[in-house]
Symmetry: C2
Subunit: 106 residues, 2 copies
């Protein structure tokens, strides 16, 4: 379970994947496996929450890392690169690096 809070010193990555509906479930499973096998063991990993859109056309990964440096370091990890390449073969993606301005309710 991930938590979103104001004032926590984390980097948030919102990665929106656009995918053919026929490939949505495959991409979801690929991202879950990538997180379970590789990402969660990397320094600075906090959480990854994989979402599937109701219309079948998107997958959203809401991920939290300790810092931008930790996130950038993924790019140099060969195991992570294999997962990224597999995801890129199924979908286009638009990663947004951000911080929480406010979180209301819960």
């Amino acid at each position: 379970m991930a938590t979103i809070g104001k004032g926590r010193d984390v980097l948030t990555l919102v990665n929106v994947f656009t995918v053919k509906p026929a490939d949505q479930e495959k991409l979801v499973q690929l991202l879950i496996e990538a997180t379970d096998k590789t990402m969660k063991r990397l320094p600075g990993f906090i959480s990854a929450s994989i979402h599937k859109s109701l219309d079948g056309a998107k997958v959203v990964n809401y991920a939290q890392w300790r810092s931008k440096q930790d996130f950038e370091a993924i790019k140099h990890n060969p195991e992570a690169a294999v997962h990224m390449k597999a995801a890129a073969a199924l979908a286009t993606f638009d990663p947004i690096l951000c911080e929480v301005a406010d979180s209301i309710g819960g």
Copy 2:
């Protein structure tokens, strides 16, 4: 503080706003105010977490509603419509309705 968990029966809205960097903070404040004044009092509201991208070009609202029906009902709320119109004047947006497939770490 919002929580993301697998198997919770919630509708997740990931709304990605594209904005001029000069307007990013204004949009963030507008969304916080809309949530505080209106959204959080509407039936089925669970949480809204407003994020600003590090490059200044995006704002992401990660919101949770009890059901799709509750979320759709916002469209008929005149107060909410005023806030939406103000946001639309500042930015384009791409709302994604989704469900959590998995959440790892935390």
